[in-house]
Symmetry: C2
Subunit: 82 residues, 2 copies
């Protein structure tokens, strides 16, 4: 069994309006030393796979098919054996 | 300058309907070996702080005040000097 920790972020260069909104809110709260805010998704899931290589391949496939939009998003993940 | 990588997740025991929806979608795509899906937020930001301790304290404060809802969410973060 593996626990996958997946981060999905908009690709560099893709406009991130949510990040912009968070940045403006932080400035409104007088955190003026904050910049380059980007907002993404974080997902955790448990996976019953034969080995680490099979788990890695399945997570990659699930990201490509459902969890991320590969046109505008990048994903990275870690696998922890549990 | 520090780059903060912040994860915000619903606390254990708080119903996660988005995680449930993702889990059902994965099962519909025949990834039946997946369970315990939880969905959260991931944020990155750049912070101009005097030292690591000051940066850590400010990120904690921003999480408590804006980035997370401490009633129902937990947050963790890493700081990387850049």
């Amino acid at each position: 069994m593996f626990r996958a920790e997946i981060k999905v972020m908009l690709k560099k260069g893709v406009l991130d309006p949510q990040g912009g909104a968070v940045e403006r809110s932080l400035h409104a709260l007088e955190y003026d030393n904050v910049s380059q805010v980007r907002v993404g998704k974080y997902m955790e899931l448990t996976l019953d796979a034969a080995d680490r290589e099979a788990a890695k391949q399945q997570v990659r496939e699930m990201c490509e098919r459902l969890l991320a939009n590969p046109v505008i998003e990048d994903y990275t993940f870690d696998l922890v054996e549990v």
